[in-house]
Symmetry: C2
């Protein structure tokens, strides 16, 4: 991507961390409030989480972006750099981010902990097993699956229709061969044969549930509501019906505590939870975000994918569920990505191209409009790449000026927090000055169709919504089950504002087709699937695993 | 089992632990030598593990038992209590034990961390996710599986015969429906359809490898040797052929470090690794045992199942691989179990029954003879139960006297270390006095058939060995592959000295049938399977999970 002498892992390994106990002191936590995982990682204890609830909440700033392209936007890097920048200008700031999945780590080079001089540390640990949260979720997911199959085997008291078990198994790996499987083979002692499949752990509803839970009690309540199957009368069967919500909560009692780490510049960061951004809401845990707000005056957090998915879900699902009101939204854009939205091929990105760049502004424009329609102040962050020409940058800055939107050229990858100071200052300005009339675009009392119409028209800029016959039939069932007042979670291509990934820029006049719904009753939303959504990635021909090793001192080699 | 007002978890939760940093100080480790996992668990750092290698090794005492019965023997409880007893009489002692698997925890009430006042703490954590070792092994196991299927999908350069992939997937759960599965369904983009199956994680060869590895370098070497499949020419394909031993080592780099915890009486304990005791060797890690020996003057450790499996494998596989020479062996017996070996039904165990008890001595006798045949001093520990009558205990004590074997009545469950002081003293006596001519019963240069003959005749007291046609054919292949000089790992019923679980006591004149072999080349042994061996347990009709919960303070409820 950027030409730099040092790789992300080299920069990370060369950075000197402070003991996490010292980092915790900055935000008023003592060693007693922490559960250490080595010297540089800690979970915050239950007692401390309860204690800080009485504190006044700091201001939350959401970082989102234009529609992602293969050129890269650097949303996580800007999030980290912005947290550092706030601290550099004397503000008490924290970062709240998602924790990465092992699947992509083993598959494709590239971490999820920021980049350059804007990274969270220890990046090796965070990208490997970290504090075991994802393993706990995998285990809870698969324990539930085993308990369902055991229920079938032991007499099936709940009359579960074995053809209608919707709970899948999970591994935190990219493993395409597990997408569709048949289990229970080998005769009557080996279970009931049936179709099944594995999702990657971050696509498990348990991940979404953990990330939306307010506390341990709420976690158990949400787990108990999860629908795992339908019985022979086509009625939902829940975890509560199976009576195992206590066991699942027990398996998750450590995973639900947020993880404290630090950036290269020692800004405290809570890295916790990471649900899929298509079939789930794509944000770090509510517990991490709200706890960070209790511990700092400014919290920088991010949503998944672009603003049409990540910010929409942050604002409609997470904020509503957690009672969060963000103070401002940063929309990250890069010159390269805007040029792709303007029609430039990936191979041609290094060349200056003002006409295409200008065409690409339309994508950014739509996301700015969307954020404003939520009643929120917005600032554009240009994440600078070395190939950007002065003229290109100037053109974007001038366009923002004409659009009357604050903009800042950030150089956080290269310079860390120093490169984000102007962005931080602009944010402080809009927070102090601009009106904040934050309001959702739909009400939960709207019908599910209405909610989807609202998102498609107001957030995507589309014309209409088509519902497949299957989807229409499902809506009738959902009404009967009392699920109509849940939020909607759109599973749509992240590459386009529409449901067609090839339509870059700002498509108009399009219709979005809802193929099918997937209820996530524990999470509290109905997933609306527009196309085929991959919930179990595959490995590439040359997986990143081939380059990985451990040196004689036990350090990671070849990890990014 | 025993009538007591308090359950194991009540005793455990009422016990006051010391910070693990204080426990570490007792064995000469500073906070810098530890990687803390909360206040009461820690891994020992690589640096510390290397540093202590130059120290003189302490004495290792192996705890084993008669053939297990449903009456229970309490081998782990005696191991813990004995460690405490050594400390009580002023000896610097440590315990090295296996870490439990989550599968049984969710299935059947009952932990693996000792019982009563002889437990290791924090028992809830140890029985749940602990420090994530098993999750790391599950992940490495399944990453390897995904990489194999990806190899098939991406052109199959190694010409793997997809019908001869022997590497299975794993979950750390009891899940019978995953025993036999078909994966890769759904068309050409979803992998190559083939038969597969899941083992419980403790049955993964990676667990055996981790437990036999001397260090990180040896771990990688062993991983690279693991056979995952055969190619179309029926030649073995290894992890090294796939080039992913570095990635697997990376995934295991934390899991390979031993975990320091404490007993109720604050005796330091290393709890690390726990391979199956049938298709693997059933002992905690070599790294834990040898490190404990560097840190203490006496190390109490245990083998799996009875002496015919656990001690035989400890002495032939683990000791040989690690260069360990145990000083003495404790054979644990209970009056109840001996009565079952003498023919009493489980429901009748509470009644005094001297004739049956006396008949049952034959089982104990064989194990004593076996340990002596290895050239090792032996002491019998009677693990007292409340239903034992004075006359029964007296009868056993007198029998031991006549057999000229030291014996001690231990009450460690009820009294902790205090109840094991006499046992500790008797051990010190035999270690000081008796000759120790430890030697294996077979040489690695013996043929595989010879090795099995030796075990069956000298350890089991059987007459002969039968090899199935399949097993004979496999032996020819193994000769060709150069595997004949590996150790043998017997997979036999734990309930009988023979391969027929119904033959209790001391059967004679029996023939053991070897049905099939399973090479574990990374671990360094050939598993000889006598019957059907279950490597994936199922859940009972009412799984323990149904009783589990978390209270408002985040504590486990209903766990044991």
């Amino acid at each position: 991507m950027k030409t730099s002498v040092k790789s992300d892992i080299e920069i990370a390994q060369a950075s000197k961390m402070k003991p996490i106990v010292e980092i915790a002191e900055k935000i008023g936590l003592t060693e007693d409030d922490l559960e250490l995982y080595g010297k540089y990682k800690a979970k915050i204890s239950n007692e401390a989480l309860i204690q800080i609830k009485t504190k006044k909440s700091g201001k939350i700033i959401l970082v989102t972006s234009i529609n992602p392209t293969p050129a890269g936007e650097g949303k996580s890097t800007v999030t980290v750099g912005l947290g550092d920048a706030f601290n550099r200008i004397g503000k008490k700031a924290m970062i709240a981010m998602r924790e990465p999945s092992l699947g992509p780590t083993m598959g494709i080079k590239g971490g999820a902990t920021g980049g350059g001089y804007s990274q969270v540390l220890p990046m090796e640990d965070i990208n490997l097993h970290f504090t075991g949260d994802l393993h706990a979720i995998t285990t809870a997911n698969n324990a539930l699956a085993a308990l369902i199959d055991n229920h079938l085997q032991q007499g099936n008291e709940l009359n579960i229709d074995q053809r209608r078990i919707v709970w899948k198994r999970a591994v935190d790996l990219n493993d395409r061969a597990l997408r569709k499987v048949i289990i229970g083979l080998g005769g009557p002692l080996q279970g009931v044969p049936r179709e099944d499949g594995f999702d990657i752990t971050v696509a498990s509803e348990i991940m979404a549930v953990l990330c939306l839970a307010a506390d341990l009690k709420d976690l158990k309540l949400r787990l108990s509501r999860m629908v795992v199957a339908y019985n022979v009368h086509k009625e939902p069967v829940t975890v509560g019906d199976l009576g195992v919500e206590g066991a699942l909560t027990l398996l998750l009692k450590e995973a639900v505590k947020p993880n404290l780490v630090q950036t290269i510049e020692h800004t405290p960061a809570l890295i916790h939870g990471g649900p899929f951004a298509n079939i789930a809401h794509g944000c770090n845990s509510v517990i991490a975000t709200t706890s960070a707000a209790k511990l700092a005056d400014y919290v920088i957090t991010e949503g998944g994918f672009g603003a049409d998915l990540g910010a929409e879900k942050f604002l409609h699902i997470k904020s509503r569920s957690a009672g969060i009101k963000p103070e401002a939204v940063v929309v990250v854009a890069t010159i390269r990505a805007l040029k792709m939205h303007g029609g430039v091929a990936k191979t041609e990105l290094a060349k200056e191209n003002i006409p295409s760049l200008t065409l690409g502004f339309a994508n950014l424009q739509k996301h700015i409009e969307t954020i404003k329609s939520f009643g929120l102040p917005v600032v554009v962050a240009i994440n600078k790449f070395i190939t950007d020409t002065d003229l290109e940058v100037q053109t974007l800055l001038e366009w923002c000026d004409r659009e009357n939107v604050p903009v800042s050229l950030t150089e956080v990858w290269e310079k860390g927090g120093e490169g984000g100071i102007e962005l931080a200052q602009k944010l402080l300005e809009v927070i102090g000055k601009e009106e904040n009339n934050f309001h959702p675009l739909y009400d939960l009392s709207d019908s599910l169709e209405q909610k989807i119409q609202t998102i498609v028209q107001k957030v995507y800029g589309g014309k209409d919504v088509d519902f497949s016959p299957k989807a229409k039939k499902q809506l009738i069932d959902f009404e009967k089950f009392g699920w109509s007042n849940l939020a909607v979670c759109m599973a749509k291509s992240q590459y386009s504002l529409s449901d067609d990934p090839t339509k870059l820029g700002r498509p108009t006049d399009f219709t979005v087709t809802i193929r099918e719904f997937k209820p996530s009753i524990g999470a509290g939303f109905i997933v609306a699937l527009t196309g085929e959504v991959m919930t179990m990635p595959g490995l590439p021909k040359k997986p990143a695993a081939l380059n990985m090793d451990v040196d004689e001192d036990g350090n990671a080699v070849g990890l990014f």
